[in-house]
Amino acid sequence: MPTEVVMTSKAVDRFVTRLIEEGPVMGPRERRKQPGFAKFDWIESADELMLQYTTTTVPPKKAFFPPRQPLFEFELTVPPKITPLEEATPFTLVGVHTCDLAGLNMLDDAYAKEPAEAVWPAARARARIIGVDCMPDEYCFCFDTCAGREGCDLFFTPIEHGYLVEVITEAGEDMLRLSDVSRAREDDLNDARNFAAEKGQRITAGIRSSAGDFADILEEGTFEDLWREIAERCYSCGSCNTTCPTCFCFDINDEFDLGLTAGRRVRTWDSCQLQEFALVAGGHNFRRIRWQRVRHRWHRKFLYLYREFDHPYCTGCGRCSRACTADINIVDVSNEIIERARGSEQS
């Protein structure tokens, strides 16, 4: 089997139909009430899949860590009975952009760090992933994540008559038995190269510093004036976190069924921007002031987790800037920090 094959658009439809026959498939589906916008959702037929889409509101991490995830059910027997909610069905996640593949890989690292939690990897082990290349929107700045293939089994690049399919893993090769593919010709490879080149050209936004330099800048400077300026505009609504493919903070709460003898423990996506995130006993809050939370977001993504995992926890997907109804743009703010740091160096 060659590592690159071609699947025509019609063949993709048949392929997706067969995937759905094999098991559940999640992928970008056009929003029913808002045409043109996609969301990751369970796909029931191949025509629901919207393979060429601009960034979704919520990233595909929701396939593995849903925003509301029951951890187990309980019954108030003696002793209380705990029933794990073990989901065992394998599924396929289709249509993941390169930035989101990078996000999934980062979450793998975060959850695997000792002491490792088991919920995320258990969900990951159930899934095959098909990546797809995309054209950036005006909020994208996917720097070094934009050409990545790690984390998927097959990778699709749009070409004139369908997709060039790169086989990344054995699981990916195995999936191809469900499809009709042809050998990639030179024209097809050229098409794909052109697509990648055009994508590269269209990405104009970017953080004007290396990740390492940016971490140093954040560590060495204070930038309190800037954080305060940003905080005046920040709602602390948490949308930058709840749309982020690399954010992994959560809350855990119990809920009773109305019978009041049983219920479940649920973990939900949380956000360090919310005012009560850092509340501790006695009413102390070590990031009570809005600007401290704004600073924490930049420090966590570009300094703390950079030092911990050797890359910033940002994929350049632009979701946080797009979701920010205060229009606080991650690229603009980062570049403002860099500019102020360099300005103060010179003066």
């Binding site: 929003r31 009430k33 808002q34 916008f37 969301k39 990751f40 979704t56 509101t57 919520v58 929701k62 925003p67 509301r68 108030l76 027997t77 003696v78 209380p80 005006e138 909020y139 305060r228 905080a231 005046e232 505009r233 920040c234 709602y235 602390s236 609504c237 948490g238 949308s239 709840t242 749309t243 809920e255 009773f256 109305l258 019978g259 009041l260 003898t261 939900t268 996506w269 956000s271 919310l274 005012q275 009560e276 009570r288 002031i289 809005r290 600007w291 800037s321 797009r322 979701a323 109804t325 205060a326 229009d327 743009n329």
Partner: protein, 277 residues
Amino acid sequence: MARESAIPRFGHKPQVAFFDFACCEGCQLSVLQLEERLLEILEHVDVVTWREAMTEQSSEYDIAFCEGSITTEEDVERIKDIRAEAAVLVTLGSCASTSCHNELKNQWSMDEVLDVVYGDDAGQIHTIASRPISAVVEVDYQTFGCPVSLPEFVKVVSAILTGQSYEPPNEPVCVECKRNDYLCVYEKGEVCLGPVTRCGCDAICTGWGDACQGCRGLMDSANIGAMLKALTREEAHSIMRTVIDRHQLTEGEIAAKLRIYNNWPEFTLEEAETDDD
């Protein structure tokens, strides 16, 4: 725990009464719409007074669900009586918890209000500025929404019956909107009060494609200054550029939007425009 059900708090099956003050009584109607879930709740309590659902009445009860705002001197006396009887007093929906849009009348003097509404027949009505129930008596549990948010109502019922307190969430609607993976209203070019409004409604309006009108009231740390800046900035990226250009809201118009559900005690930009806390 050795118990097979939640902690018994009342020593007997608690008796529940529903009361209404100035409101449309839509919150009671919403509770009736819980249907099967209401039947599950009724396994744990006896409803003894509920004008909208039954004819019997009782002057003895443990838990009082009170809907509506306090807008007359008679209301003040009646809610004090209810407070004296009820072990647990719950405000049902925004009229009771924030005074909702009843407080729009507070923009005028009470004499003007009486004159406009009742003219020469105003004599017997002792109207006062509309206020939430918590402005008159101590409240144990609050639920918000116009009508009341049913997920919150269910949570509060469960908390009461298992002896737990319930703190209304101090987070904006955006949190629940994103957890539900709804498309942001601003992406559609519209203005939404979600970023400053207390969540707990499970973002029901944005889920149906509407903008949040703020019916649950401002969250504690709502950044009104941020909203004024966001909707009037000169430099903006494409989504917010579209919203700003399309609506061209003035500060006064933004304040008017916010005032609809937040005029108790009195909504002014000067009071609201804090950058924190």
